[in-house]
């Protein structure tokens, strides 16, 4: 598991990186470019994080910029607020999705609101990185998908990459952005590799909040994000129907125009996510898109997601998580209307 200490700097055009390493590379680049950028969290320093996403950063940037915090999540976020007030740009790691809840108060009542409360004078330039979702056979609290809680919290932005390339670009954009950004990292995709252009200039900020059509199709649209993008692409490839796949990328705000444009063409929409369906973000998508496309929809927007139960023991997770079969079963139902 040991890797070299120093994070690859720019120089070579293309590098084959895992998603984890792509984020590391983006973080290192952001830290080199802006001395105000800090990394903080549990075990992010010497260990490099339990997923090694911050590996090498403390060696390069020192303990003052890569901070192993006490074991207290509210403290991580609360002190990050203070650092942001002082002009720093902390990138906080919450070790696992299930451990963000002790910080829920600081995130919802402080991080999300201080810009407004200060009449626009305070910038909450904070990124909260969260290894997100299931599929790695972990014990309880290590496989949650809490995005709906935060998407219902005005003042926050939420983005989530599905590929190493996006991960590399999006983490850098999130760090530059003046608003607080929740950055959800699909942990089961950490080890997937792809070519990443580490020299490409940072795209315009608006791109961060744009969904991407990752596969064109005409029979139905699959909207997904993070870990489910690969699942949906595999489902689309395996199926005889011509399925369009959209990677939402930004969950707050949602890029409705891109989704609506697609649904206008396909007439059918399925939203696929890992979180429990009840009250999940799929509901928001369904409600908004149905309002926008009432006469275009040939079937109700169907939601494919986790069941409405706490994330089950690992031996059941492959049944709990939407997979190729579950996605296609829902496509069958949508097509039957």
């Amino acid at each position: 598991m040991r890797r070299t200490t120093r994070v690859p700097a720019g120089g070579s055009d293309m590098a084959v990186l895992t998603m984890a390493r792509a984020i590391t590379t983006g973080l290192a680049m952001a830290m080199r470019e802006d001395p105000k950028v800090l990394v903080m969290g549990e075990d992010v320093g010497r260990l490099g994080g339990v997923f090694r996403v911050t590996d090498g950063l403390q060696a390069e940037f020192g303990e003052e910029r890569v901070i192993d915090t006490p074991l207290a999540e509210s403290g991580i976020i609360g002190t990050a607020v203070g650092l942001a007030m002082r002009g720093y740009a902390p990138v906080c790691e919450i070790q696992f999705d299930g451990f963000i809840f002790p910080a829920f108060d600081q995130i919802t009542t402080q991080v999300a609101r201080l810009h407004l409360r200060s009449a626009g004078t305070l910038a909450m330039r904070i990124v909260i990185r969260v290894p997100n979702g299931g599929g790695i056979g972990a014990v309880e609290h290590h496989s949650e998908s809490p995005e709906a809680y935060f998407a219902h919290t005005p003042g926050l932005r939420i983005v989530t990459p599905s590929s190493p390339g996006d991960a590399f670009t999006m983490i850098r954009q999130a760090i530059v952005h003046p608003d607080p950004v929740l950055f959800l990292e699909p942990k089961r995709r950490y080890w997937e590799k792809a070519e990443v252009d580490v020299d490409a200039p940072l795209p315009p900020m608006a791109d961060l909040f744009r969904a991407r059509v990752v596969r064109r199709g005409s029979d139905a649209t699959l909207l997904c994000w993070g870990p489910m993008v690969r699942t949906c692409l595999e489902a689309a490839e395996a199926d005889t129907r011509d399925l369009e796949v959209i990677d939402a990328r930004s969950l707050a705000p949602l890029d409705l125009p891109t989704i609506v444009e697609s649904v206008t063409r396909t007439g059918r929409l399925l939203v696929v996510h890992e979180a429990p369906v009840t009250g999940g973000l799929g509901a928001e998508v369904a409600a908004s898109v149905t309002e926008a496309c009432f006469y275009q929809l040939e079937a109700p927007v169907l939601r494919v997601g986790g069941f409405s139960v706490p994330y089950p023991p690992a031996r059941l997770e492959d049944l709990y998580l939407p997979d190729l079969d579950r996605v296609l079963e829902a496509v069958d139902r949508a097509m039957a209307y």
Binding site: T109, L122, D179
Partner: protein
């Protein structure tokens, strides 16, 4: 109910207005400084009374009075340098005043026209924080930032006796301790958290909490402006020099209601209030400066006049405060463009344009 601060209480000016010596703590003021402190205390009390009256007249939805805590707030604020940041709760009107914040600025929050609305950088005075304890972590983070900047700055953060029970405050102690953060935790123990007496939060004096985290704790007479200034100054000096955090417990009393919505007769005795009235933070300064000839009746009357002007200013300015415009609620939620804000702002604009007369929304009602 505690009235007596016990043997560890640091006091330099007795309730009778007599200067006393303390083995570790000392502060000598010039006559001018004594008058300044007296005037500040009087102005703060007036500010507070005026806001309470404005609430009674329906101009504010709520007010959280600081009566009784003027010395704690004035003394602590004076101990800071103007460049050093203060993190208040929702009751630090006295600190705001010392920092030069126009009291009218504070009223917006209680009138319901803003959620705070000031720029902390303007007077080094952070926004009021209503969720109990949250600001203690902000202050520690800010202090960690000061360390990284190489600034020899201290940070002052306020919280109450009730707040001492919140997990966030304990986490702030941990983060401050392990980082040697230059922060002074200033706890105004006013004996009550709404209706709950100190005994519901702790079995031992609060200043002792610090020892469990490895930094010093001091109990100071919160009604003694001199002692508070002296103790907080020393703590800030220590912080600036890299000595890390200190907890200062200012032993004081909330003379009034928790807020204007509260009815303290339901839970505490008038005898208690009477006992504390004898320790009034302003009376003792007046006694001292009059007895020692620092101030005469004419000057005291002048101060009253200036207090009256402040009240007048607050009344006029409060009544003149405009309601926020409807779409202002969308304007500063995000620092950059946001499609949902655009969509909802546009909707509300056209919705309101559809009314021939004003839509039937009234002003603010009650509140807690």
């Amino acid at each position: 109910m505690a009235v007596d601060g016990g043997p560890e209480l640091v006091q330099l000016l007795t309730p009778e207005g007599v200067l006393v010596e303390h083995p570790d703590v000392a502060l000598v003021l010039t006559d001018e400084q004594w008058r300044e402190r007296y005037e500040l205390l009087v102005m703060v009390r007036r500010l507070d009374a005026e806001a309470t009256a404005l609430q009674r007249h329906g101009e504010l939805g709520l007010w959280a009075p600081c009566q009784g805590q003027e010395a704690a707030q004035v003394g602590a604020a004076l101990a800071t340098r103007p460049t050093e940041r203060i993190f208040p709760t929702y009751r630090e009107h006295g600190m705001a005043y010392v920092r030069g914040v126009d009291p009218v600025t504070l009223l917006g929050l209680f009138r319901g026209t803003t959620l705070g609305g000031w720029d902390p950088a303007d007077h080094g005075f952070n926004l009021y924080t209503i969720v109990i304890g949250d600001q203690t972590l902000h202050a520690v983070g800010y202090a960690m930032g000061a360390q990284r900047d190489g600034a020899h700055e201290g940070v002052l953060v306020c919280f109450g006796d009730g707040a001492s029970s919140q997990g966030d405050v304990a986490e702030a102690f941990v983060y401050a301790a392990v980082n040697d953060a230059p922060v002074v935790f200033f706890c105004q123990n006013n004996q009550w958290a709404i209706s709950e007496p100190l005994e519901r939060q702790t079995r031992i004096p609060l200043f002792k909490r610090a020892a469990g985290y490895g930094f010093p704790g001091v109990r100071v007479d919160g009604n003694d402006v001199l002692a508070v200034e002296a103790v907080v100054s020393a703590a800030l000096e220590r912080a600036r020099a890299g000595g890390g955090p200190t907890l200062v417990e200012a032993f004081t009393y909330r003379m009034g209601a928790h807020t204007t919505s509260d009815d303290p007769t339901r839970y505490r005795t008038t005898a208690e209030g009477e006992a504390w009235r004898l320790k009034d933070p302003i009376e003792r300064v007046r006694a001292h400066i009059v007895r020692s000839g620092i101030a005469d009746a004419a000057w005291l009357a002048e101060v009253e006049g200036r207090a009256e002007q402040l009240g007048e200013h607050m009344r006029t300015a409060c009544r003149a405060m405009p309601d926020p415009t409807p779409t202002s609620m969308f304007d500063q939620v995000y620092a950059e463009d946001h499609p949902v804000m655009d969509r909802e702002r546009a909707w509300l604009t056209s919705y309101l344009a559809g009314f021939t007369d004003a839509p039937h929304h009234a002003g603010a009602g009650g509140g807690q």
